[in-house]
Structure formats: C-alpha cells, structure tokens
C-alpha cells in the first residue's frame, strides 16, 4: 500500500484544509483574485474544497485600472464559468471620488494606492478573512509570514508580533474590525504552481506565454508599452518575444524574453532560471531592499 503523498498532493491537501477551516470559522471571507496564476490556483483549490457545492464566499478584485486587457477578459470569463460572485474594488473610482490622490509624473505607480482601496473594501463589506495567493518563496518578508496573517483594525501587519502557528491548528480568533489574510499556498514554489497548473489543466491568461510585444527597457526590465505607460524620449521601443512571470499592475510588471509557448516549455524555463520571479519583473519590489515589508506593514496583500 502506498502511504506517502506526493509533494503536489500534500500541498493541495494542506491548502484545501486551510480553505475549509476558514470557511467554517469566519463569518465573511472573500477571495482576492487578480487574474494572476497564484490567485487562479487559490480559486481552483477553493472550488475543489466545497465541490459539488458552490463557493461559499465572493471573490474580490482590487483593480488598479492599469490592466492587461486579456487579464480582465480572463477574469470575467472565469467568474462566469465558475458561477462566482465578483466584487471589484476600483482604484480609479477612488481617485475619481477624490478619496485618494495619485502620485504625479510619468513614473508614478498605482501599486501603493491599492492598499487604501483594499482596506476600504474590507471595511465596507465587513470581510473578516481574505484569501490571497502569496507564497513564501516569492520574497524575503513573505518567508516570515504566517498562513493566517493577523491584521489590526488599520489593516497593519506586525511582523514581530505574529502568533505562533502550530501543527495544523490555525487560530483565526479576532475582534470586530480586525481581520486575517489567509495564504493557503504559502508553501508552494513558482515551480510547484506551474506543475499544478499543468497537472490540473488549468487555464491561465495568455500573457504568461511567449508573445510579441512592444517593450522598452527600464530599470533592467522589459516593460510593455500600453495606454498607461509610455517610454521616455531616450527609451527605445523594440518588438520582442516575451512572456510575464507575474501579472500585476501593467505599469510596473516587467516581462522576460522567452520563447516558451507551452506549459512544458514554461516549466523548463522556470526550472532553469536563476532569477527570482519578483526580482525579474516587479518594479514595486525594487525600490528598496525592504519595499515589500513596508507595503505589507501598511496593509498590502
């Protein structure tokens, strides 16, 4: 008799355990969905966790307005196909309503603006648990984060005051106004994610695969030319074969040169690459050594 789970089954079981635990113990959970591969996996796991019953909580997209059109199309199709309920918390709406002000200048990023919009949506919908697709291998501040990550009434993370997490006994107790961020795929690596996408035949937006795109080099990354992002005079636009390793705000997510058009080729490429996913492609994490830690403390994902 085989009695040892494969690593992928182990990770899947662990994630489903976490998702069910949250659904059972929290009153108003929601699942953060960006259309990126990690949140696609969390949604897939959540659907499995309750099948054949529908998802017992809504999904929420914090929309910076700076999107890849194919990702939004993908999001809407996924919502329709899975019969989920989608809540969009819009950064653009918040700017238009004068609730937040956008930094000016061609290099202003909207990433930071997601935090107040997210926190307001949490308050408005009185969410007490939010699933996210963060993984500990992504970034060094994340490596220290718990599966149940406690946030105070200001949405802040206190890395030094985290609750110990023992066995699979998660403690989600909190006071009104406080909430938890829940990371069911904490223990997955980028490669685990791709293996799972392949094994489960899960569809992801096409921008994860090699395609031709007008790009220009900024801060060592290939950024795509979009309606929200135009190159400076001295930045040269080239048409290159690229793909994205992460999908975030289109203005700060870089692409990598790649000819990987199938999932197997992507797996091969990820297995051979020597640069971390965020290091390669995220301007938001490059501004300082502790950029992610600082954003997280304020309430970022």
């Amino acid at each position: 008799m085989k009695t040892q789970l494969s690593h992928v089954s182990y990770l899947e079981s662990e994630a489903i355990h976490i998702i069910r635990e949250v659904a059972a113990e929290f009153e108003r959970p929601a699942l953060l969905f960006s259309g990126g591969k990690d949140s696609i996996i969390v949604l897939h796991l959540a659907l499995k966790a309750f099948a054949p019953a529908p998802l017992p909580f809504p999904i929420m997209h914090v929309d910076t307005g700076h999107n890849f059109p194919e990702v939004i199309e993908f999001r809407d199709r996924t919502v329709a196909e899975t019969g989920s309920r989608l809540i969009v918390a819009s950064v653009q709406d918040a700017i238009d309503a004068g609730k937040i002000t956008e930094d000016s200048g061609p290099r202003a990023l909207r990433n930071r603006l997601q935090t107040p919009v997210l926190l307001e949506a949490i308050e408005e919908h009185r969410f007490d648990a939010l699933f996210g697709g963060a993984r500990r291998d992504e970034e060094k501040a994340r490596a220290k984060e718990r599966v149940y990550s406690f946030r105070d009434e200001f949405g802040q993370w206190d890395p030094k005051g985290q609750r110990p997490e023992l066995w699979n006994l998660y403690n989600g107790r909190h006071k009104p106004g406080e909430h938890m961020r829940i990371f069911p795929i904490s223990n997955w690596t980028e490669l685990d994610v791709w293996h799972y996408l392949r094994d489960e035949e899960i569809e992801v937006p096409h921008v994860y695969f090699a395609h031709n795109r007008d790009v220009f080099m900024r801060d060592g990354m290939w950024l795509g030319v979009t309606e929200f992002l135009t190159p400076d005079e001295d930045e040269v636009v080239e048409n290159k074969l690229v793909r994205f390793r992460t999908i975030g705000d289109a203005t700060c997510t870089g692409s990598v040169e790649s000819s990987a058009t199938t999932i197997d080729q992507v797996i091969e490429e990820v297995g051979a690459t020597r640069i971390t996913e965020r290091g390669a492609t995220r301007a938001d994490d490059r501004t300082a050594e502790a950029a992610m830690e600082d954003r997280k403390k304020e309430g970022y994902f």
């Binding site: 662990e14 054949p52 066995w167 006994l169 050594e289």
Partner: protein, 418 residues
C-alpha cells in the same frame, strides 16, 4: 516525489544559517538576484566573504541587527524530494520558536560546534525534538575544519550526545561531521574526512524513510465542514469534508461518529477532484459520504466502531507556554483548539515544571512563564476526542488561546486522557 519538512536548531553562531545557505546554494535553489543582494549587504557590512547566512534574514530589523527574529520558511528541491525548512532562530524566544517549527517537522537537524561539543543548548534542542516527537534527528557536527577534521573530536561529540539521548525518546538518530562553510559532507563528500563512511547530509535527507512515520493504524477523521449543495442536481448529497488525522479509510468501513456514537458505513471517500478513492490516509483532504443520514457536524469525529479515541474532558498534558504577558497556573482559563473543535479549558492541577537543560522536574513550581514547559491537568467545557500525542501527533495536540487578546499562548501535547 514526496515532501520532507525539516526543522533546524543550533545556538547562535554554530553555523545554522551558513548550513542552510549551503544547502540552498549547492542545490541551486538560490537565485542570482538574491545572491547579488546578499553580496551587496555583505560588502556594506564589511564581511570578509559573501555571508550565506544573510539569505535567511528576511526582515529589515534582522538584516540591520544581523540576527534572525522569526521562524522563516525555505524551500528547495532535488530530483528526489521537495524540502521545506522551518528555520528557527537560536536566541531569545528560542523554545517557543523551535516548538513551533518542530510541530510540523519530519526531521530535525541539530547543529553542534565541534570546538564546543555538546552544550546545554544542544541538550535543550534534543529534548524539544523528542518532546514534539520529530521522528528523525540528525546531529550535524559543524566546523570540523577548525578541529583539523579530527575523527576523535567527532567521536567524542557523538558519544556524549548519544548517551544523553538515551534518556529521551529519539527513534532515529544520525551523526554527520560537516563544515558548512567549506561544504564538507553537506552535498558533496568531504575529501579530507575519509574516515567518515556515512551519507552526506543532503543524501541522508533525500533517503530517510518517512512513509511509516504517520499513524496508519487508528482511523481518525475530524469533521471540518459539511458540504450540502442544496441544488436539484445534488439534492441528497451530504459530504463530510476534512483532513484524515490517522489510519486508513475506505468504502465499506464500519464507522462511529462521536460524540453521538451513531454508527454507519462509509459509502465513498472522495478526493478533492470528486473521484472515488479505494482508500485514503493522513494527511489527505477528502470528503466522506456515509450510507446513513446521521447528524454529524463540524467538530465531530468519525472513527471506527472498534477503534475509537478517548472521549474526555480531562487531559494530562505537557504544555509549552508562549506568552510573555501572562503565566499558566492553576485556575487559568483559556480557549482550547483540538482538531476542529474549540472549547474552554481551566487548569485544574499544576504537576511540575521541567528544567529543559537537566530534564529534572520542579514539583514545587506553580506556574509556567514564557518559554517554559511543564505538565498540567486540564478540564474542558466540552468533551474532546483525543489520543495521546505519542500515538498520534494530530489528535494528541492542541493550542491554548488567550480569550482576551486572542493570541496563541500555549502548545499542548496530551500525555493521558482520564
């Protein structure tokens, strides 16, 4: 490919971070941008060589102070296995952090500085590993380069540690002489220590047999969530979702549901993709369908008719106290979480506090403070369905939560239920 979770322990400067950095580096799990960033930090700090230890320092305060504050998780994969390292710092808060890391570990690596030999902290680490019943223990005798790779030194550490370990319950104990700095016996065999015939550390990690570590004898299924679609198509579907905590479950098994004691048979065990499994075991997440309609809800336990856990409100347990703000003493009232069940607990009796360096019992003690471990008797408001921790690490463990702050303040291992 399977997965091995490991915990590392060592006192400050024994070379734990270097060892982990070496494992990650030699197994090609470190990326260039991470390396560049630690090279830069090493230069800025005026370190002589690239400090692999920096790889494990995730928070700003840690990099600034050059210490590790919190449990960090690291991942690496070899063609044989995937590994999750729960890396716990060796200084303040040590016991609390190591207990946390140890709770999910299949294997612990204890580092010993060859020059210092077995010190008080080594004994403490070994004790915690055995208390948490980590099935496999590896003692890495590090900095062998600083003792001329001398076999005598290694043998004397081995002898002393093994002697101490006989007083503990350590099922599998392995000693490996290494130099984390130079890479001897970590991934590659040491060229200088030809007297050592055993496996390198990585080879041992890849080969150690973990399939029989979990309880495969006593079927235990704490119900986590009841799935009732209430749609036309699945009108009669009533599935009990949860994670198997012990034993093997298969269709046709005669089961009893606690606390009601009602019996039925397993109709099907469904995997997460909805397919019917011929059998399932821990720690699989599954959905169980029963032949009869019973009233079973979250917090209940499905087990075999002829193999049941104890149904009890009285627990004898070892507790590690994790709060600096309070103490555990007779009369303390706390929330308790055991499997999928919450209850309240009160400390009825304080048996003893353990001196984790000497293993002696202080029976005159009346309370546990931060990082202290002792034995208490608890009474709970509701019955729990419990086994001893020795028998099952899942149904034998619990956490204690402060009801005012909601913080997890204690980790408990059940010694007896009566």
């Amino acid at each position: 490919m399977d997965l091995l979770r490991l915990a590392t322990a060592g006192s400050v400067d024994d070379g734990k971070s270097t060892l982990i950095g070496r494992l990650l580096y030699d197994s090609k799990s470190i990326f260039e941008d991470q390396l560049e960033s630690i090279e830069k930090t090493s230069n800025d700090r005026g370190d002589e060589h690239v400090n692999l230890a920096l790889l494990t320092d995730g928070l700003r305060a840690e990099r600034e102070q050059g210490i590790t504050i919190d449990v960090a998780h690291r991942y690496f994969t070899t063609p044989r296995r995937k590994f999750i390292i729960g890396d716990t710092p060796g200084h303040i808060q040590y016991t609390r952090n190591m207990v946390t890391g140890a709770s999910t570990a299949d294997l612990a690596i204890i580092l010993i500085d060859a020059r210092k030999g077995v010190i008080e902290q080594s004994r403490r680490h070994a004790f915690i590993a055995s208390l948490l019943r980590i099935p496999h223990l590896v003692v890495a005798v590090n900095k062998m380069d600083l003792v001329d790779y001398d076999q005598e030194v290694f043998e004397s550490v081995r002898k002393e540690f093994a002697e101490f370990a006989t007083r503990l319950d350590v099922p599998d104990l392995t000693f490996i002489p290494v130099s984390a700095l130079h890479g001897d016996n970590i991934v590659d065999r040491s060229a200088t220590m030809d007297w050592y015939r055993g496996a390198t550390l990585l080879h041992h990690l890849e080969e150690v047999h973990i399939a029989s570590d979990r309880n495969m004898v006593d079927p235990r299924f704490p119900v986590q969530y009841v799935i009732r679609p209430q749609s036309k198509q699945h009108h009669d579907f009533r599935g009990y979702a949860g994670t198997i905590a012990g034993g093997v479950m298969k269709p046709g098994d005669e089961i009893a549901a606690l606390p009601s004691g009602f019996t039925s048979k397993i109709k099907a065990v469904l995997s997460p993709d909805g397919s019917e499994l011929s059998e399932a075991y821990a720690p699989m997440s599954v959905t169980v369908l029963l032949e009869d309609e019973l009233d079973v809800s979250r917090g209940d336990m499905i087990c075999r008719v002829n193999n049941q856990p104890d149904v009890t409100q009285d627990l004898e347990a070892m507790v590690c106290w994790m709060s600096e703000a309070s103490q555990l003493t007779v009369g303390s009232k706390l929330a308790i979480k055991h499997t999928t069940r919450w209850a309240r607990a009160v400390v009825k009796d304080f048996r003893y506090r353990l001196d984790i360096n000497t293993l002696s019992r202080d029976e005159g003690a009346t309370a546990l403070s931060l990082n202290e471990i002792g034995r208490v008797r608890l009474r709970t408001t509701q019955p729990l369905f419990a086994d001893t921790y020795r028998r099952n690490r899942t149904t034998g463990s619990f956490i204690l939560v402060d009801e005012a702050t909601n913080v997890t303040v204690g980790a408990g291992m059940i010694r007896a239920t009566e």
